[in-house]
């Protein structure tokens, strides 16, 4: 605590607040609000009822009007703080509303009906989380299917990416063969080919091999990523060749050398690539949007964008689904951000 205070009051040069200290803190606190605020507000909003969402100006936390069960009435009634004609304020339950007059009763003495002008009453509100926003889409829509499709694409694509790229990196770092440099050059050259440039021909290739409207059509074009080969190769170059020679003396096959020696030793680089692959594949949008046209094959990203584009946008469901879509990324962020941020700064990877 004392270090925190010492830190907070520490200033440039030690004499008074320098303007740069003020700028720094304004920038940092502002950044905190601007960067986290939108996601936090979205998350709170996702727990609001449709009525709560329609409110203006909106509240930050999800509120609902408190309800009470009153004797003699079937349904629970909403509670209000009502200002009465004599100037006193009482907590009353609304039975019904006719024009600008609200008929209210005292929950403790429900016999007598009290008429109150609607301008003179304020709802009694409590914080309440509308969890049905989360449970309903699971049953009503294909949400669970989208989730499953996304998980399938992410996990499968990442596994294939790791295997295929590490094999290629092994070949390119530990073998001398004709055309090695050519292969490396081709891989590096395609670093500059973004998906958006080859959309049309890629689509026709996927269709002609029968992968249109198939999750494999989403997975396959993305797995041989040049970035992956590049990082893994750079890492494997640091593994001493003597290890491989020793294994060959012991009659290990080349596959065993790859699988038992190289892969375990490359684990740190594989881990970085795995994290990135998961984030990339989970967030993919344009390509799945093109390849998948059947609803039951949509990934979360495609499903979300299609739902939110429809005319009768059901925001309470959309928001909840958005939050669910964010969860894996937020988990990655919480547990691995240090790892990722140093990884990016080191390799300029994205």
């Amino acid at each position: 605590m004392s270090t925190a205070i010492a830190f907070l009051t520490r200033r440039r040069g030690g004499k008074g607040w320098h303007w740069t200290d003020i700028v720094t803190w304004v920038w940092l606190i502002g950044g905190l609000l601007v960067m986290f605020g939108p996601a936090v507000w979205l998350t709170f909003s996702s727990f609001k009822t449709p009525a709560g969402l329609a409110e203006f100006p909106p509240s930050i936390l999800p509120y609902v009007t408190q309800q009470v069960q009153v004797e003699g009435y079937e349904k629970p009634l909403p509670l209000f703080n009502a200002k009465l004609a004599d100037g006193s304020t009482r907590v009353l339950a609304e039975v019904r509303r006719i024009g600008i007059v609200s008929q209210m009763v005292d929950p403790k003495a429900p016999g007598e009906i009290i008429r109150v002008n609607i301008g003179d009453r304020e709802p009694v509100r409590e914080i309440s989380f509308a969890t049905e926003n989360y449970t309903q889409p699971f049953m009503q829509f294909d949400f669970f299917r989208y989730l499953w499709n996304s998980v399938f694409v992410t996990v499968t694509a990442t596994l294939i990416t790791l295997i295929v790229n590490s094999m290629a990196a092994f070949a390119l770092s530990k073998y001398e063969f004709k055309g090695r440099n050519a292969a490396m050059l081709v891989i590096l050259a395609t670093l500059m080919v973004p998906l958006s440039v080859i959309l049309v021909p890629l689509y026709s290739i996927i269709s002609s091999v029968g992968l249109f409207n198939s999750l494999w059509g989403v997975i396959l074009p993305t797995v041989a990523t040049p970035t992956g080969v590049f990082i893994l190769r750079q890492y494997m170059l640091t593994i001493p060749d003597e290890l491989i020679d020793a294994a060959r003396m012991d009659k290990a096959s080349e596959w065993q050398i790859y699988w038992r020696i190289i892969v375990p030793l490359t684990a740190p680089a594989l881990a970085v690539l795995a994290i990135f692959s998961v984030v990339w594949r989970w967030n993919d949008f344009l390509w799945p949007l093109i390849v998948l046209s059947r609803r039951e094959l949509y990934t979360l990203q495609v499903g979300l964008s299609i739902y939110s584009g429809e005319l009768n946008v059901q925001w309470h469901y959309i928001l909840a689904m958005t939050v669910v879509t964010m969860i894996p990324v937020v988990l990655v962020f919480i547990f691995l951000q240090r790892f990722i941020t140093t990884g990016i700064a080191g390799s300029g990877l994205k």
Binding site: M167, L191, S196, L220, P221, V329, I344
Partner: protein, 318 residues
């Protein structure tokens, strides 16, 4: 994978170690060839054919017609005077987007990196704060901001106390374009901040100490030490950001869908809509447009490789 040992040992006996190298390389090269190299070649073929058929053998050869259609303009600065007015609108929008987004984002990233480079408690926390949106998916980014900019949204409610009536911001052409630029900066600046921060931390501390001993003013230190030594990183970051900005699509598609009107229609969306959405789909025109876009990207990438190489040499000399 232990199961693979026996058959692979057999393969090795047959082909030798050189054969195994090919075996390790094959899966990657195969996927690569089919899904990246082949499309690159076919793209050229598509751009010189016409018609609405999908497969190349059913398409008719039209030569340079697609390109002629694109470049059939009386005044290139006025999209409406062109036959392909949507393409030129998208080009203009993309140009202004790239200029605004990259310059503003690099400025914001640089300021943030400079601030994060100060002696701060919990520096890794603050670094993470600015990095968080980078991980979010474009669809989530688009939805978050659509939610904030809608009528009952946070922006309106923050302006309401100042007497501003609620407004549907994203239906305003100028504002929608600004929002797309701003949201894209919000989503990506953390990445560039990190790279710049790494560059700042590589600047030797003793340079600063020496400058402070001499009583050099902070502004002078920035212009004479920090900026020149950061320049290599800054250049790389600028080119990377340019390449990324030219391809902008995902978050804009969700945020505005290219609208209102065509005010946020960008090149990638034009290619997507020409090739896949509009009927009859025009794969030839989309391919031609994507090749033109690819040319711009190749130039930018070569620029980046040049910048990167120059930096490497500089590093060696130092």
């Amino acid at each position: 994978m232990g199961l693979a040992d026996r058959p692979l040992r057999y393969l090795q006996k047959k082909t030798g170690i050189g054969g195994m190298a090919a075996f390790f390389l094959a899966p990657n090269m195969l996927i690569f060839g089919i899904f990246v190299l082949l499309p690159l070649v076919i793209n050229l073929a598509y751009s010189v054919t016409g018609g609405s058929a999908l497969f190349l053998d059913e398409r008719t050869f039209v030569g340079a017609d697609q390109y002629r259609q694109i470049f059939n303009c009386t005044n290139y600065l006025d999209p409406m005077s062109c036959q392909e007015d949507a393409f030129w609108t998208a080009v203009g929008n993309t140009f202004w987007f790239v200029v605004l987004q990259v310059s503003l984002m690099i400025l914001v990233s640089l300021i943030t990196a400079l601030i994060l480079n100060r002696e701060l408690i919990g520096r890794s926390f603050w670094r993470a704060v600015f990095f968080f949106p980078v991980l979010l998916s474009p669809v989530v980014v688009g939805l978050i901001w659509r939610w904030i900019l809608q009528r009952q949204g946070l922006l309106n409610s923050m302006l309401y106390p100042f007497g501003v009536e609620p407004y549907t911001w994203l239906t305003d052409r100028t504002f929608a374009f600004g929002a797309v630029v701003g949201v894209s900066i919000w989503a990506h600046m953390g990445f560039y901040t990190l790279i710049l921060l790494a560059g700042l931390q590589a600047i030797p501390k003793d340079l600063y100490e020496a400058a402070e001993m001499d009583g050099t003013r902070p502004a002078r230190i920035f212009w004479r030490i920090t900026l020149p030594l950061l320049m290599p990183n800054l250049l790389v970051v600028i080119v990377l950001a340019l390449i990324k900005a030219v391809q902008v699509f995902d978050e804009v598609f969700v945020l505005t869908g290219g609208g209102p009107g065509t005010s946020t229609l960008f090149l990638t969306q034009y290619i997507y809509e020409t090739g896949f959405v509009s009927l009859p789909r025009n794969a030839g025109l989309a391919a031609a447009a994507s090749i033109l876009m690819g040319l711009v990207l190749v130039v930018l990438t070569l620029l980046q490789l040049g910048v990167g190489r120059k930096n490497e040499n500089k590093g060696k000399r130092r």
